[in-house]
Amino acid sequence: MSLISGPDTASRSSVPGRRVVLAPGVRYGLSRLLAAAGTFIFVILFNFFLFRLLPGDPISLYTRGRDVDPEIKRQLQARFNAPIGEQFLAYIKNPFVPELPSQRFSAPVWDVIGPRIWPTLLLVGTATVLATVFGVWLGIRSAWKRGQRFDKIATTVTLVLYSMPEFWFGMILLIVFSVGVFGIPGIFPVGGLSTPGVNIGTLAGMADVAWHLALPIFTLTVIYLAEYSLVMRASLIDEMGADYLRTARAKGLREADVRRRHAVPNALLPTTTLIFLNLGFVVGGAITIEYVFSVAGLGSLTVLALRGPDIPLLQTLFLLFSAAVIVANLVADLLYARLDPRVRT
């Protein structure tokens, strides 16, 4: 079984007479890296033009309802509506830190984004990790006991939860567990991230944040769960008839070991792709859940930025999201090569 396990492939590549400079593993890694860099450069260019196609007049929106002196308005216009070439040059100098401040918040873009990153990471990140762990576990159990009661119940329940509208499900949980109905005490807060006046740097403060985020994280976890459990279940079922499992059983391994050491590692491949794809989207936030539970994250910030549109803010957010997805995909690609040596060659 250890014939094709990674590191020793390096020695095979230096076959005399062939002009091989790089080991296949390294070559693969480099090619992935280059592809990711290429994608990113494309995104940087695309990002500039995409948001300038949006309709809207940011200055009029910004000044609506205020008696702004035409001269001052002209200066604002000049700042935001410079010739496209000039704007592009300014943008390309440092695409991550726009020279212009966010129009909606009149503050440097990263001052606006900064405080909203951690709530999103905490909310969506935790939910993704929990959903992965429980989803994969559920998927394995279901597949192994395919057709049995556990499988039927687990598959039905996860599918039902998956198909529920996030907004509605979140609202129901909020009414039941935050406000309290039918004698269930409403023990969770209705919205926000922390209690005003509590220092979130302390242990009690962290507990307070956990208390605030418990319901939204639970909602998201439950909704994400089915994705992992169904993919895991399907890919494990595919593996279950494979010959190498019969070999493993013939060696006298117990079912649990056959599953854990042979079947699951092979079945994990599609799930890995899914996990990393989703990890990339973590920074994008969860707009509906952020809305229902009033979590000030990047998802709701994007919605705000789209109004106007607030181009400096929007393009930075979009770059951030794209970068996260590209990096996550790169990691998935590299990890995939570790898990499945076939893709390296």
Binding site: L130, V190, A296, L301
Partner: protein, 609 residues
């Protein structure tokens, strides 16, 4: 089933874990006798910098922190002393003198004098960025002087009634003089070292968490006396339903700007009182009366038929405003007529020739104006051009979507066809500025001083050309009438209130007869609050105005906790820290349990392979 025992161990650990941290954190609880008034809002503060913030949420905080020279009274918006005890216009109308209260202090103990006021006005007059928010107040002011600590002199280049009601927040010179014109643009005006910012109003900003809450503490140096409630918290709820739920639960004490379905759902809930407060907003059906720039160069693609006042008037008669109030606002509003809402009783004109819902009258007006019914039931003009118009509604507002559907039907009823398009407010703003519309549905919120609202119909506020592109200005009907403009100029220099009111009413009558807008309704602000927690709410105007988000801080200054009730929030559930501990434990132990299960199974099998 070999791992049963392991699972048991895990469960026991799990339960132990639940109990363990519950006792640990408890130190961060606020002092029990501190009174906190929590207001739930659906709009977050955009910026606490008084030169930057534009949202109502931000303005509420500005007026809590910074004083103004004069204030609007709670009862009827009459002018009341603020920082200035008295003020007089010079006989030659070239300057105003304000007597500043003596012996005032900023919250940090530094004396507050006329010099702070002079500094603030000078900074705005001489600034560029500083003018964005306050330019319209200082337009006439040429110079600010403080000959002594209690005298402020503002020199003006022409007489102006606005000098009695300058909504300019007086800033502490010793703080703001250290922030230059570049730094001010990204200045946050939030507490940095845990201490509240320096102000002179009833409350001071003590903490802000973006997108979550702003916490204010009472200012012991406030000149009308320290408020009775120790803290005011503005808590942001993105979700309007959650806002109602938070009030029901007691997480907040006051909910502002409720949606009508949420408002209705709070009826008959114990300890909750509701108020459909009169508000200064109106909505209208606006017409493109002939879009052109200030140089009278036609722009856009508006249907020229709408230049005919008789057609617009007929449309005015065809709209059932009562039905709109009932069906669109759920009854929470009143039928609209003229530009200044009835809430400003002194300024509002109740037109003697008010139109009612009368489709027959509308039809006969159209017949008389030369728009007979065409073969397909659509009216047409003498050249055979059908009365077909584009009507824009705002896709981001449920009320607007409903309203345009009703309007479309009312117009169809008199033989006028409309194509409804719903677009985002941003996109609509752009279309209006370019004159690329026939009609749209939108609204305004009117300030206590009518000047700004009246200016939106002057010729000068139409779009203008700049570097080859057309730039939108305030006018969204492109109305232009020299007679109206002359009255506008007259009222803007009339410092005798009675005379000015007379002119303003005349202007409203002109607009009412010329129909650049068909004003549909004045809407209410729906609020609800816990009657078991606080008392002393002050309406503005009396008796049925809103308690908060007023022009002034009257409620905050008068509010006090209800004595009999047990101390509010502490009793509303388990302590946050405790629950937090439990949740953390659940999360950690959940993961741990899983790990444990797997480890157990591994241990049994490792030696086999």
């Amino acid at each position: 089933m070999a791992y049963r025992p392991a699972r048991l161990v895990a469960v026991i650990l799990f339960v132990l874990g639940l109990l363990l941290p519950a006792g640990v954190p408890a130190g961060a609880e606020p002092a029990p006798d501190k009174s906190v008034f929590t207001v739930g809002v659906t709009q977050d503060v955009d910026s606490l910098n008084p030169f930057v913030g534009v949202t109502a949420a931000a303005y509420e905080i500005f007026q809590m922190v910074y004083p103004t020279l004069t204030e609007y009274g709670a009862k009827d918006f009459s002018i009341q002393p603020g920082l200035a005890e008295s003020w007089t216009e010079s006989p030659d109308k070239t300057f105003w003198t304000y007597k500043i209260r003596p012996g005032l202090k900023w919250s940090d103990g530094v004396p507050l004098t006329a010099k702070d006021a002079a500094y603030t006005f000078d900074r705005i007059i001489n600034g560029t960025f500083e003018k964005v928010n306050y330019g319209n107040y200082v337009g006439n002011i040429t110079k600010a002087e403080a000959p002594d600590d209690t005298t402020l002199i503002l020199r003006v280049d022409k007489p102006s009634p606005i000098m009695e009601k300058l909504a300019v927040y007086i800033l502490p010179e010793h703080i703001y003089s250290t922030i230059d014109e570049t730094a001010i643009q990204s200045f946050k005006d939030e507490p940095t070292d845990g201490k509240p910012i320096v102000g002179a109003g009833p409350y001071l900003t003590a903490e802000r968490q973006v997108g979550q809450f702003t916490r204010m503490v009472a200012n012991p140096n406030f000149y009308r006396g320290k408020p009775a409630v120790d803290e005011v918290v503005f808590k942001f709820y993105a979700n309007p339903d959650a806002l109602g739920q938070a009030l029901r639960k007691g997480e907040i004490d006051y909910a502002d700007s409720l949606e009508s379905n949420v408002f209705d759902s709070l009826a008959d809930v114990p300890n909750i009182k509701r108020l459909s407060a009169v508000y200064s907003g109106f909505n209208e059906l606006a017409f493109n009366t002939g879009a052109a720039t200030i140089d009278n160069k036609p722009i856009g693609d508006g249907n020229p038929l709408l230049k005919d006042k008789r057609l617009r008037e007929a449309i005015g008669w065809a709209i059932d405003r009562k039905a709109l109030v009932e069906k669109v606002l759920g009854g929470h509003g009143s039928v609209g007529s003229t530009l200044i809402p009835p809430m400003y009783a002194d300024w509002h004109l109740a037109p003697p020739n008010e139109v009612s819902y009368d489709p027959d009258k509308a039809r006969s007006l159209l017949d008389a104006a030369g728009y007979p019914l065409g073969p397909n039931g659509i009216r047409q003009d003498a050249t055979g051009a059908p009365l077909k118009f584009r009507l824009f509604g705002r896709s981001d507002k449920a009320a607007s979507k409903k309203a345009v559907e009703f309007i479309k039907n009312y117009l169809a009823d008199i033989g006028v066809e409309t194509t409804v398009t719903l677009i985002a407010e941003d996109a609509l703003t752009e279309k209006i500025g370019q004159g690329e519309y026939d009609m749209f549905e939108w609204g305004w919120v009117v300030e206590p001083d009518p000047g700004y609202q009246l200016s939106t119909f002057t010729c000068d506020k139409r779009s203008y050309e700049d570097g080859g592109s057309i730039v939108a200005n305030l006018s969204d009907s492109f109305y232009c009438n020299p007679e109206y403009d002359a009255l506008f100029t007259a009222q803007s220099t009339e410092t005798n209130p009675a005379k000015r009111i007379e002119i303003v009413k005349q202007m409203q009558q002109i607009l009412y007869d010329d129909w650049p807008y068909a004003i549909t309704y004045y809407y209410d602000n729906l609020v609800a609050y816990r009657s078991d927690r606080f008392e002393g709410f002050v309406p503005q105007p009396a008796p049925d105005g809103s308690y908060l988000f007023q022009y002034g801080t009257w409620t905050y200054e008068n509010l006090k906790p209800v004595q009999a009730a047990d101390s509010g929030q502490a009793g509303s559930g388990p302590s946050p820290a405790m629950i937090g501990g439990i949740v953390a434990a659940v999360a950690v132990l959940g993961g741990l349990t899983l790990l444990l299960l797997r480890r157990r199974r591994t241990a049994g099998a490792d030696d086999r392979e």
